[in-house]
């Protein structure tokens, strides 16, 4: 058998020529600056709101969490599904098993095909989901972002669990009380790109600039990717790398539980303070065994509940997502839309040994 290798050489030559041609074409090409004019116009025309329109019956809603089987997201979504029954609609939860940037995209397409009235999404990446969400909006499907926002051009409203500023600043205050406002601290976050986490961290850093925290020093922001094992290892790593660490803030329910598990079984128990955002059921035993003094969270049931009512109000034409519009959210009463299409749930609740037994979620 004789083997000739001329063909691949010819291919290589052709490829090189192609690459060269492309680079020549680059003169006068598309750069960030020349493209920056093409802003994102909001898809679909803005109809005018009719605050007195009745809530439509039989609305089909779908919750698309960052990932399924995440205990926190399950609570939020189940409360939303229950809320939909209150106004005679139906809702379901679908979603990917991993929280990667692109994994939610196929689900959005599926929900478009299934002709849902509204999609409620906690975005893994604010831009990766944008294309398909705009497509959904152009087919008159309402988009409600909850928990973690998308690019504002790709949703109608964002249900914010609490003012991001309030969460960020209160986390620092909570930890400062526990460590006497002195010493090295670290943050254990979820994924590096989670919009909500990063906003909170930004406000934490800003809060730390105040004079009363001059003796507190943020030494590291670690990422556990909302993965139990990874968060556990990151906690271990933080404590080994910074032997003078006095406290950790973990503003994610997966992270704080993993960190508490590690600390409670290590020599750092009682020496390193841990606070952040967690659910009472997850954290109960760590509060009782003294690993954690206090942590906080909004009521995730109310978050899902409010998101469902916002979706219904949008689909029924009561609101369009513009600032200043108001809608009735069942037992939570009247809510209004703030700047940038945000609806704020309310201030977070601090859970400690005194009150934790009153909460079950």
């Amino acid at each position: 058998m004789t083997i000739r290798l001329r063909a691949p050489r010819r291919l290589v030559a052709a490829a090189t020529a192609g690459a060269l041609a492309l680079s020549l074409a680059a003169c006068g090409g598309t750069t960030k600056d020349s493209a920056s004019g093409s802003g994102d116009a909001k898809a679909g025309g803005k109809a005018s709101a009719d605050p007195n329109a009745p809530l439509k019956k039989g609305l089909k809603l779908a919750f698309l969490p960052k990932q399924v089987n995440n205990p926190y997201e399950t609570i939020v979504d189940n409360a939303g599904i229950a809320a939909a029954k209150e106004f005679g609609g139906e809702a379901k939860e679908v979603g990917p098993s991993d929280a990667s940037a692109s994994s939610q995209v196929s689900y959005i397409n599926t929900l478009i095909q299934q002709r849902h009235d509204a999609i409620l999404i906690a975005a893994n990446d604010e831009n990766a989901v944008c294309g398909p969400l705009k497509q959904a909006m152009s087919k008159n499907i309402k988009i409600v972002a909850y928990d973690s926002d998308t690019n504002p051009a790709c949703r109608d409203v964002f249900i914010n669990q609490a003012s991001s500023e309030e969460i960020g600043r209160s986390e620092v205050k909570l930890l400062a009380e526990q460590i006497g406002s002195e010493g090295e601290i670290a943050i254990l976050s979820a994924t590096a790109n989670a919009t909500n986490q990063n906003t909170w961290i930004k406000f934490m850093q800003d809060e730390l600039k105040k004079p009363e925290y001059s003796k507190m020093k943020l030494v590291k922001v670690a990422y556990g990717d909302d993965d139990d094992q990874k968060s556990f290892q990151q906690t271990q790593g933080l404590l080994q790398a910074y032997p003078n660490l006095k406290g950790i803030i973990s503003p994610t329910t997966v992270g704080i539980a993993a960190a508490a598990r590690y600390i409670s079984g290590s020599k750092y128990k009682g020496k390193v303070a841990l606070t952040g955002l967690g659910t009472p059921d997850q954290m109960r035993k760590f509060v009782k065994d003294g690993t954690v003094k206090g942590f906080e969270l909004w009521d995730p049931k109310n978050l899902g509940y409010l998101a469902a009512f916002a979706a219904a109000a949008l689909s029924s034409g009561q609101i369009t997502g513009a600032q200043g519009e108001k809608f009735k959210a069942g037992k939570l009463g009247e809510r209004s839309i703030g700047a940038n299409g945000e609806v704020i749930l309310g201030p977070p609740t601090v859970f400690d040994a005194k009150n934790i037994d009153q909460y079950h979620f």
Binding site: M1, A25, Y107, N109, Q113, G131
Partner: protein
């Protein structure tokens, strides 16, 4: 195995069945929007599956493809953020893809290391470089002209532009594999590397070129991925190499090398993608979807072996010599 009983024929039949079943039972399945989306969603896997088929036929594997994709995505973002033109970024990123592939190829051919071990190493290495390039952040706001190109279809058809490009490349790959001397030498190397070498085939040269092409295509898939999602990230495409290898195996390519067809692989890519789409439309959970894909894979690896065992047993009963293994096509 007779032509009718060939595994890739079975995969193609299954694909037709899934398509017909989907169109019949699910009104949301066989419409232009959904099909075009489902195809577009397969772009990167389909593209990378082409060189991967050639590699596996030749007895090699490249596990670093998804990391090359991630590195190229991160680099695309970094350069775009730095103000470089997209038309300039693309060729540069492709060169980086080729270099990544060449590193794999040189380690395999010059040092004689097994490609599995080499590319497990570079899988971690290239992903690490991707994080060094872009950190854990994301770059977005690519020009809409390009992001639209990555997601929209040729007018009047459900065929997205990246898939049209795939069709072109698939045609070239198919001809190379099944109608040229190079293709025959790939099968020869996969079946018996030493024999191929003594027959005058330049084994090392061919392997090196294959790894470079694999890197090139993975780099290109990185650009497609970035524009399709409008988000350049270092963790883009994590785990994608397994989806590609799953498709190659399901397509009937023997992991030991020397056997397989490109048609089978393409049918398998479409089968996995459309099946997943259909399951999602019917609200089947992610967990069950992975169970279905996993079972399909095990069956695809097991069936040819079972057939071989059964044939051997029959041969022994008749007292005849064991059946001669099917020759490479």
């Amino acid at each position: 195995m007779s032509r009718l009983m060939r595994w890739e024929t079975a995969v193609t039949a299954l694909l037709v069945l899934v398509f017909a079943g989907g169109a019949g039972f699910s009104p949301d399945f066989a419409n232009n929007d959904n099909l075009s989306f489902a195809l577009d969603d397969l772009s990167e896997i389909a593209l990378i599956a082409l060189p991967m088929t050639l590699l596996v036929v030749c007895g090699q594997v490249d596990l670093s493809v998804a990391s090359i994709l991630g590195l190229c995505s991160a680099l695309t973002g970094k350069l775009w953020d730095g103000g470089m033109a997209i038309e300039m970024i693309i060729p540069l990123v492709l060169v980086v893809g080729v270099v990544c592939g060449l590193v794999n190829g040189l380690l395999v051919t010059r040092l004689g290391l097994p490609s599995l071990a080499v590319t497990i190493g570079t899988l971690t290495l290239y992903r690490g470089l991707a994080y060094v390039t872009l950190g854990t952040g994301a770059i977005s706001e690519f020009p809409t002209a390009y992001t639209d190109l990555a997601t929209s279809s040729i007018p009047g058809t459900p065929i997205p532009y990246p898939v049209a490009l795939f069709v072109l490349l698939a045609a070239v790959t198919g001809v190379v594999l099944h109608a040229t001397g190079i293709g025959r030498s790939l099968f020869a190397i996969g079946a018996q590397e030493d024999a191929a070498y003594f027959a005058g085939i330049r084994v090392k040269r061919i392997k090196l070129i294959l790894f470079a092409v694999s890197g090139l295509v993975a780099g290109f898939a990185g650009v497609v991925y970035t524009l399709r999602y409008g988000s350049a990230r270092a963790d883009n495409g994590i785990g994608l190499e397994l989806a590609v290898i799953a498709a190659v195996l399901l397509g009937g390519v023997d992991f030991d090398g020397g056997k397989g067809t490109l048609g089978g692989v393409i049918a398998a890519v479409l089968l996995i993608g459309l099946l997943r789409n259909l399951l999602m439309l019917n609200d089947v959970s992610t967990e069950v979807q992975s169970i279905v894909t996993g079972l399909l894979l095990i069956i695809s690896v097991l069936t040819p072996r079972l057939i071989a065992v059964a044939r051997e047993a029959r041969g022994r009963r008749r007292g005849a010599r064991p059946a001669v293994p099917a020759a490479a096509p």
